[in-house]
Symmetry: C2
Subunit: 405 residues, 2 copies
């Protein structure tokens, strides 16, 4: 009998993207949909990067190298030195086609099929995809909206370690919760990794986005202490707002791992060469650009937080970093509510008269424990402050209508 593999059936639909057809249908009806479902900000890509396109000469557009285009590798090395980690050499960096390829390569490289990786729930939904793709079992440790999704005590984490546990995977600052782990939280993870001989996978895509004077504590700070165990997963998408430039990196001092992921990299020949030349210009992005973007997201965070916390029944911890937050809503099934926003709810703009609605992601897909997150949504505050204010208004009205049907 011809049928697809069982494991293909287990790959989950993206909670971020699965309602897209409903949004497309709404737009066809002339409805304006505000997208807070996906981290695709409206911030401009730095001019130095845009210029690479407009001044492109190289013809033909040939392969790059499997480890990464040399100029891009050099830019990454420069960046890690600049942020305080001069021990990172080119051989410690593997360029990946998006941060997602890095997650997948790393899980493959450290786990045998059936091995376990501890994650903190809710977590970035696509970890589920790459766990299924690589035959890895995610072991979720629950964190709670009540204390801003911070980590539980060491003993709670250690209790979940089994003979099959190979790693702890965490995202800091966190997508989807906006949590920035404290120095003592990161050090607790380092200490557990040491004690139990585990890998630590730190997804630091949002490294620069920590608010209220916080500074992200990078696993890079501890990399020399646990050189074979520390793996940093990185991405260009959010740092320079080039989400469509599919580039990230695996950074590790583990030579065996780096040699192995390079062999996987050879199998796919190279990442895109145009994208890599764009991203290589990160050396020309002024600090002022980074600061402006950081401050803008902090202000958006304020707009969203101050707006949403006034809505009756809404629970929102103050996001500390990244540009996401998990919000508790007074609904019993957030997936139905999110779909309803796209299919039924319409509010006419006071100014334009246009019918409008807002798209957010049901949070269930950010949990792997069935049933959790059912009354939560993930919101990406990626739109400008005016639009965000309107989104808060739309959500407030939608909840009133929805709960009085």
């Amino acid at each position: 009998m011809i049928s697809v593999s069982r494991r293909l059936a287990q790959v989950p639909a993206s909670p971020i993207r699965k309602l897209v057809p409903l949004a497309t249908a709404a737009k066809k009806q002339g409805v304006r949909v505000y997208h807070l479902n996906i981290g695709d900000p409206d911030i401009e890509t730095p001019a130095a990067m845009m210029k690479v396109l407009q001044t492109w000469k190289t013809n033909p557009i040939g392969y790059s190298q499997s480890q990464g285009e040399p100029v891009f590798l050099e830019s990454l090395r420069w960046y890690y030195h600049k942020i305080g980690f001069p021990f990172i050499d080119a051989q410690n960096i593997q360029v990946t086609s998006g941060g997602s390829e890095g997650i997948s390569m790393a899980l493959f490289g450290i786990c045998s099929p059936g091995d376990e990786v501890i994650v903190f729930e809710p977590f970035y939904a696509n970890y589920n995809t790459y766990a299924v793709v690589n035959g890895v079992t995610l072991v979720p440790i629950r964190t709670s909206i009540k204390d801003g999704f911070h980590l539980p005590r060491e003993s709670v984490i250690e209790k979940r370690i089994t003979k099959r546990t190979r790693a702890i995977l965490f995202c800091n600052p966190s997508n989807p919760t906006g949590t920035v782990y404290t120095k003592s939280e990161v050090e607790a993870l380092v200490s557990i990794a040491k004690k139990h001989a585990l890998f630590l996978l730190s997804d630091e895509v949002y490294r620069e986005y920590a608010y209220d004077g916080r500074k992200q504590v990078s696993l890079l700070s501890y990399m020399e202490k646990i050189p074979n165990q520390a793996i940093v997963l990185d991405s260009m998408s959010k740092r320079y707002n080039v989400c469509g430039v599919r580039l990230g990196a695996i950074v590790s001092l583990n030579a065996e791992l780096m040699a192995g992921v390079l062999r996987i990299g050879q199998g796919r020949l190279s990442s895109g060469i145009v994208d890599q030349h764009i991203a290589a210009k990160l050396t020309d992005v002024p600090d002022s650009w980074m600061k402006k973007v950081h401050d803008e997201f902090e202000k958006r965070r304020d707009v969203l937080y101050e707006g949403l916390r006034k809505i009756p029944g809404v629970i929102i911890p103050k996001p500390e970093g990244a540009f996401y937050t998990i919000v508790g809503l007074p609904v019993s099934d957030s997936e139905k509510f999110c779909a309803w926003l796209l299919t039924d709810f319409r509010d006419h703009s006071f100014r334009s008269g246009q019918a409008e609605t807002v798209m957010v992601a049901p949070a269930g897909g950010f949990y792997s424990t069935p049933g959790l997150g059912k009354n939560e949504v993930r919101i990406a505050y990626v739109l400008n402050q005016t639009d965000l204010k309107r989104c808060v208004e739309l959500l407030a009205r939608a909840l009133t209508v929805y709960n009085n049907q």
Copy 2:
């Protein structure tokens, strides 16, 4: 104990790329290295595609859609209609980040871990990588240099089918052998697939490159007959000489498979948006461009074939398509010979006086049966005719020196 996974250790180094460090070292010594090791041709990328870069406006460079950027999907649909397959709709196409992502997604989607896929040896080396990455066992059926690597009789293929066999994977025209399968060969595979309920994976990256008046027989011609079993793997790299634009496609009428690979695609968010806008201009590439490139490769084939077959001890079947050929050499260990070409052999150019050598890929990596291909190399005839003539000369001299040491 901290160690990488066993399966990571099993990922083979690319036979196409693993000698690159030796080539780099030679270049540092001032040696000119002619690259016949990798299919990265010196043909210009079509002007319509280059123009996308120079006229790029969209800012920020945001995500594309997971299935593919709509304009690129539409171009692909247009292309498949143009080449005679009007039943292909957008829903039958999944854009992949390079042909390699397509191979990987397809193997994952149709195989459980430990399942078997029949391939014809020698085969594209990176199939090995994606077999390991997806826990799939490749079952190689040997083909021979003596009859130009054409397929064995149906019964020989059927004998290798077991309860674990899920698919037959073939490349047509073939990288690395240059074989173009005849209509009856393709039909034999379709008939076996039908009889034994197997998937057929046809890698048609070199569809346009068939010589001496041959026309490639696409699996698309049989797709409606075995709609749930036929999967075509495609790539933009070679057709439009945009190897650095990492884009390919999975084409299938199997709705369950297409829904599943889309979910995997959601996990990696999207392929590069700049690359997709470049490739979308395939609609503006004139037929005359394709014909010119086709004819140029046919001439290069002639130069290589006529040159190499005159070298004593060299065995070369006349390549029928693609731009590769497997060549038998009078050496006992082609990997050592390929390395020696880079480390030791130098021939001074008559014109420039510069030391020169040539890089080819040892063929062992294109086999999975240990020991096979040990006296063979894969040659990619991707350089212009003048350079190719010089490469033939270099190989002839190198063999003389090597065998008289």
